[in-house]
Symmetry: C2
Subunit: 463 residues, 2 copies
């Protein structure tokens, strides 16, 4: 039996005038009574390959089933194409229809469906040019992330998804339970008896693997997580989903400067990798989705990231001579409009801000000696603002304990976290990168629902 060749293999092959076997889905068909030109795609690359079928060589009942969306197997001769726009094509010898797609009901008949419509048929949208490109890039970006860390001696750590801790306070959490909601067991005082739940206590879906990641780094030196995280926030915006993937490297013996060096190198590596390995898909997205895409990627690559403090950023913003929607004041968090001003207008390059007020940052960040700021670092990008948030971590037990007390974070619950500061504590740092946010930046897609295969949003968990 002849081995099937993928479209990628056929288009990349210089070797023509040989018999090949192609299997794939019909994207379009044109032609006339004499000859049919059938564009076949199998998802391996954005391009389809053209199959040329002389009508009289095939039974009519076969050819009439070769419609958009149908799946076919074609055996034929791979030849140089006389037509424009393709190097090679297949002169069909045999055509078999594997599966029909009734033109009366197949939803991807015509081109130019809206992204909103395609979201409702997310099971089929992989078959479009745009979403094929997006999800091939999603794969390539995932792989580049693993490659980057692997090459640098980082260990991939699978931190837990179900957690009994809610200490990070990064957002609202989903409850995970096996209690029968029709018959919730209750204690004498009427409260829920979680001792009867699966884990014997209340549990939630994780909002971050960082605290557990630190445990790994404080033994293996450098680790990273890359897994799903969750927010139960009722936010229906183009930037929010309830389930998304995060990358969180954590490194022992790294101070905030090492951390910034890593973040900048990492982001540039990933963008360069996608530009090198997904050129066809990127070019398509640049043409059809966002004409400034390639330019914006180049913008990130060509500049050293500006590094300055939050305090300096506030000074710049206050004398910017323009009105922002949100107030700028030392002690308040920066909004995307402020971050974008710094990147796009003021510095004209990506920016890393450090040393934020402790009051707007998490309990685990290293406290500066000024008693006011912490060793946070946020990496700011054009168009989206914050792309990475990180910090050097507080490695001193007493300072960490004081901070937790101030912020009402239970030391009992985090006994294991505190023990890493009791036993051989060391300077360490890390950061978090929202995978989908980076993917939006790299693909030009403006709705996060369009860069994750099956988005989870308020009132929507289809597929």
């Amino acid at each position: 039996m002849m081995k099937r060749s993928t479209v990628k293999e056929l288009l990349g092959s210089g070797e023509t005038n040989r018999e090949v076997l192609l299997k794939g889905w019909v994207r379009t068909r044109r032609g006339n009574n004499q000859v049919a030109f059938i564009a076949v795609n199998d998802g391996t690359v954005i391009h389809s390959i053209q199959v040329v079928a002389v009508m009289e060589s095939f039974p009519e009942e076969v050819m009439k089933r070769v419609t958009t969306g149908s799946s076919i197997a074609v055996r034929g001769l791979l030849v140089e194409s006389p037509g424009k726009g393709q190097q090679v094509e297949i002169q069909a010898g045999e055509i078999e229809v594997l599966g029909d797609a009734d033109p009366a009901v197949y939803p991807l008949q015509k081109k130019g469906h809206s992204f909103e419509f395609l979201r409702e048929i997310a099971h089929l949208r992989f078959r479009t040019n745009t979403f094929g490109a997006v999800f091939r890039i999603r794969h390539a970006l995932s792989f580049a992330i693993h490659q980057y860390f692997h090459d640098r001696g980082f260990f991939y750590l699978h931190t837990p998804i179900i957690t009994a801790s809610d200490a990070e306070g990064a957002g609202a959490m989903f409850r995970v339970t096996t209690l029968d909601l029709d018959h919730i067991p209750r204690k004498e005082d009427g409260s829920v008896d979680f001792s009867q739940d699966f884990f014997g206590r209340p549990t939630n879906l994780t909002v971050s693997g960082q605290l557990e990641g630190e445990l790994g780094a404080l033994a293996l030196s450098s680790i990273y997580t890359f897994g799903p995280t969750f927010r139960a926030e009722n936010s229906n915006t183009p930037r929010h989903v309830a389930e998304f993937w995060m990358i969180e490297p954590e490194m022992a013996f790294y101070d905030i400067h090492d951390n910034m060096d890593l973040a900048e190198d990492f982001l540039k590596y990933l963008i360069r990798d996608i530009m090198e390995n997904c050129g066809d898909d990127l070019e398509f997205l640049n043409r059809m989705v966002d004409k400034t895409l390639l330019e914006r990627l180049e913008f990130v690559l060509k500049h050293p990231f500006e590094r300055t403090t939050y305090t300096e950023a506030v000074r710049i913003l206050r004398k910017a001579g323009r009105t922002f929607e949100y107030p700028v004041e030392w002690g308040l968090d920066l909004q995307a409009e402020h971050e974008r001003y710094l990147v796009e207008q003021h510095f004209e390059r990506p920016v890393i801000l450090t040393d934020y007020p402790g009051g707007i940052k998490a309990f685990y960040m290293k406290q500066n000696d000024d008693g006011k700021t912490v060793r946070a670092m946020d990496v700011l990008f054009p168009m989206i603002g914050e792309i990475i948030g990180g910090s050097q971590r507080e490695e001193k037990l007493d300072r960490l304990q004081n901070r937790m007390r101030e912020m009402n974070i239970s030391a009992d619950e985090l006994w294991w976290y505190l023990e890493t500061r009791k036993f051989g504590t060391v300077e360490h740092s890390g950061f978090g990168l929202g995978f989908e946010r980076l993917l939006m930046f790299i693909t030009g897609m403006s709705n996060i629902r369009d860069v994750i295969p099956f988005p989870r949003t308020p009132r929507s968990a289809e597929f």
Copy 2:
């Protein structure tokens, strides 16, 4: 400032007689009043590097803090070691104690803690030889999986963790909810009003990404998932955890034979990769944890996997001339004892069984024309039995619909799954591999709780 060198870099470096900066954790310390021999480990490799410190060169108050578990920075000369068991060592010039580890309370003082005890301090067990080895191998195996698929044109697909479907029926599920368990909203008939839940309907944690994986494969040709999956089964055994990672490749245009070829090649690739890249860690585990480990890995590599049918396996087992705990009868599922007999006693090689009775397999498997069996395939390994379960999928709409009716699976709920059989359906196949199960096989660890960083089991969700 001098750049820190990792233990891996130092031990792998031929270049001696140069000043280096080492940071890590003290594993052991021996010596006398004149000289201290300090074994320092930073988790980058299983070996520690020996630091030799002439006592009179350092303040007493520093040296007395250099105890097991403390973290230190050492600046000194990397020299060839005159001692046995190591190529190089460091003659300490400066020693700084970064973090103490009070010998009176540090739990990893003595060697030879039980795995049970170490599970209770999972935040610290990364600092032991065994768990350092296990989690370095866990990383290497993850990376090898990504590398394998990437090199073969598969796309990594992130299937959803939160799902509204419970159709796969692979096991009990965890409920995911934002309803207030103290005040469950109810409909007029008294049932829970899930329209007020986050997703507007009941949702659970996924037991498999396969059905969504098929959607990807039926557009992109070949995909794989690698993510967390969940079982809410109250099983307290060395083989069960509630949260574990699965790999599920899914390939369009693959029949069951292609599927078997892939599974065998994949498993051999992974084992070969770990033997090549994690030799030191494997050797340690072979010496300390399971003396038959390397032999068993070789056993898998050196044999072509035997391929036969379930029906033939039942025939072999029935005339085996030995008693099994569980009955052997056509139509019943095979147990690990049966699977191990086939692999270890009868064929003396890994085995792939195909064509199981439809009654013991999932609804989506391709039905054979005999009306009794389905195109399932299970890969059986020594010691553990089933390591991979897979099948060719039913691509014919009517047969799939009939089967779903017979098994009471809602076609309404799975409308999107059925549509892939309506529109350009093609032959396709896939399988599932439990990541931790393979990791147990490769590390020789006999309890699944010891190959995942922070295991989730009934009544236990610590860390």
